[in-house]
């Protein structure tokens, strides 16, 4: 259930060259149950709200951690008006042991909460970073994560091995490239795995969200179940069901 609430910025930290991490004390206890996949719409001064992506909780300090690229700078003590949670939590398939997270030429933030949670659940996690995703400061990630760097934006080393190894794959790229980047992967997978299990290949859509409630139709994704708002039914969709944007 989406709610309007407030948070106080407790701490801001620079991560590597281009990212920042904010520690947020949230007012609404319901937000402490926010799940990987879900986001918050923050009023940051522009007319429309900005999608703030939690990457985890700092349970010692009792704060939610938000990461995004540097840009506007925030001051500790600032109060931010939030709407959320927005979106459906990522659904990990039953019995997943090997999780593959693929970020093609895009900011990896949308997958980091899932990454941290999977590590906690003792899954084996491989993270693929290509294009600008390579700029993410991977030193901040848990050392148990296997990181694969791809120099081509659209593919990565040992692609077939990783795809065969994985029990589930999350793909993240710029929404407008989803079609041309996801289709070749489906093709590759169809040769590796004759029958793709349902939900095996998840595509994550990170787009601007004016409303976060499914009302505005700005974030629609075309699927075989009709046009679905990424802010309600996403951000992740089974790639085999997509008709894309």
């Amino acid at each position: 259930m989406i709610r309007e609430t407030k948070a106080i910025i407790e701490r801001t930290r620079r991560l590597g060259a281009g990212w920042q991490r904010l520690s947020l004390a949230v007012e609404d206890p319901a937000l402490e149950h926010i799940q990987p996949g879900q986001t918050l719409l923050a009023d940051t001064g522009d007319y429309l709200r900005e999608n703030w992506i939690p990457v985890g909780f700092d349970s010692e300090e009792g704060v939610m951690l938000i990461e995004h690229p540097l840009g506007r700078t925030y001051t500790p003590g600032e109060v931010i008006n939030l709407l959320g949670p927005v979106g459906t939590p990522f659904q990990l398939r039953h019995g997943v042991r090997h999780l593959l997270l693929v970020v093609l030429d895009y900011e990896p933030t949308r997958l980091l909460f899932l990454l941290h949670q999977a590590i906690k659940k003792e899954m084996a996690v491989t993270l693929v970073l290509t294009g600008i995703a390579r700029e993410y400061p991977i030193s901040t990630l848990p050392p148990v994560v296997e990181v694969i760097i791809g120099d081509e934006p659209e593919t990565w080393p040992n692609q077939e091995d990783t795809l065969t190894w994985a029990d589930q794959v999350y793909l993240l790229t710029a929404p407008m490239f989803s079609e041309e980047r996801y289709l070749p992967l489906i093709y590759t997978l169809s040769k590796l795995r004759p029958a793709l299990p349902e939900g095996f290949l998840q595509g994550v859509f990170d787009m601007p969200m004016p409303c976060g409630t499914g009302a505005c139709a700005a974030c629609m994704v075309r699927t075989s179940n009709g046009n679905l708002p990424a802010c309600v039914d996403g951000p992740a969709f089974d790639v085999t069901q997509l008709k894309f944007l």
């Binding site: 007319y47 429309l48 700005a218």
Partner: protein, 315 residues
């Protein structure tokens, strides 16, 4: 109670002059229950329906810019019958009247859609959305088509640029109220893709353009005028009421600050509006619209707020 339609057969009364504009709460306004007390609102207009299903627009469709944004949705909907099937059970339970926004594309489509809506439970009225290129003759035909097999109150939403040009035709053809206005279209560059995107433009700055159109229409209109455009405060809503609007519709504030919408509705709820335009609000909260200076303002200066500034000079 405020009568937002012409009195008579197809009359619609609402309890608060503050409505939600089409598209702002989608088809299931109950989602907004956790964000504001929707029972404080006067009425809610749904997103647009068409006879046949429509898909989403493709490619970039939102440009966030300059204190507002441009949005291009394609008016996606599952088609009037499937929309009714899915949402009518929700509308039936709504604490406030639900009006369905119908795309005025083609007379036959409009006739069959209106017929379907007539039979749907929980639909308190229809808001017919004219496209930007409609002519007065088309407007007449579309409204007559909607009326043919449908007894619901019929509001007609006019495009901003042609609101004055189309108002008379809408009124003559039997519209029960005029909604002024659909936002204008624009073109802006999407920074991410570098592409030009066309769509409607929204922002608080819309209000001045729409307030002028409302002020121009009201003295000529024999039916209620409902104002829609850029309301972001109770003052904005009051300015429209002051200009003769019978009710107002809140647009994108619903997305950016839903709690503020409730505040506006509570604020305007204090107003006891008489039947329609021309009637000034009984109540004008001191310190809100009326300033200290205003009360002692020299009365000898001309005021032409809705006219052409070129005429209000004195060489």
């Amino acid at each position: 109670m405020i009568e937002i339609t012409r009195p008579g057969k197809y009359s619609l009364m609402i309890e608060n002059p503050v409505m939600i504009a089409s598209g702002m709460m989608g088809f299931d306004p109950m989602v907004y229950r956790s964000l504001l007390k929707i029972e404080k609102l006067g009425a809610i207009v749904t997103s647009a329906v068409s006879l046949r299903p429509r898909g989403s627009a493709r490619g970039p469709r939102l440009v966030n810019y300059r204190g507002g944004f441009l949005l291009h949705t394609g008016l996606p909907n599952a088609g009037v019958k499937r929309v009714i099937k899915k949402y009518s059970p929700i509308w039936v339970d709504s604490p406030v009247p639900i009006l369905v926004h119908l795309i005025a594309s083609d007379t036959n489509d409009v006739m069959y859609s209106a017929e379907a809506l007539e039979g749907a439970a929980g639909v308190a009225g229809i808001e017919l959305g004219l496209h930007d290129e409609a002519t007065p003759a088309q407007v007449g035909q579309l409204i007559e088509a909607a009326r043919k097999r449908c007894q619901l109150p019929l509001l007609v939403k006019l495009p901003l640029y042609h609101a004055r040009y189309l108002a008379q035709a809408a009124e003559d053809a039997g519209a029960d109220a005029l909604v002024v206005a659909s936002p204008p279209r624009g073109t802006e560059r999407d920074a991410q893709s570098g592409r030009l995107v066309g769509g409607r433009v929204y922002g608080p700055w819309l209000k001045a353009q729409v307030l002028r159109a409302v002020g121009q229409l009201v003295p000529h209109a024999a039916i209620p005028v409902i104002a829609c455009g850029g309301i972001h405060s109770a003052d904005d809503a009051r300015d429209y009421v002051d200009a003769g609007a019978t009710a107002v519709q809140i647009d994108t504030l619903t997305w950016t600050h839903p709690s503020q919408v409730e505040i506006i509705a509570r604020n305007l709820g204090g107003l006891e509006l008489t039947r329609r335009m021309g009637a000034l609000a009984d109540e004008w909260e001191p310190g809100i619209g009326k300033t200290r200076l205003m009360s002692s303002y020299p009365p000898n200066l001309p005021e032409f707020p809705f006219g052409d500034d070129d005429t209000s000079t004195d060489p």
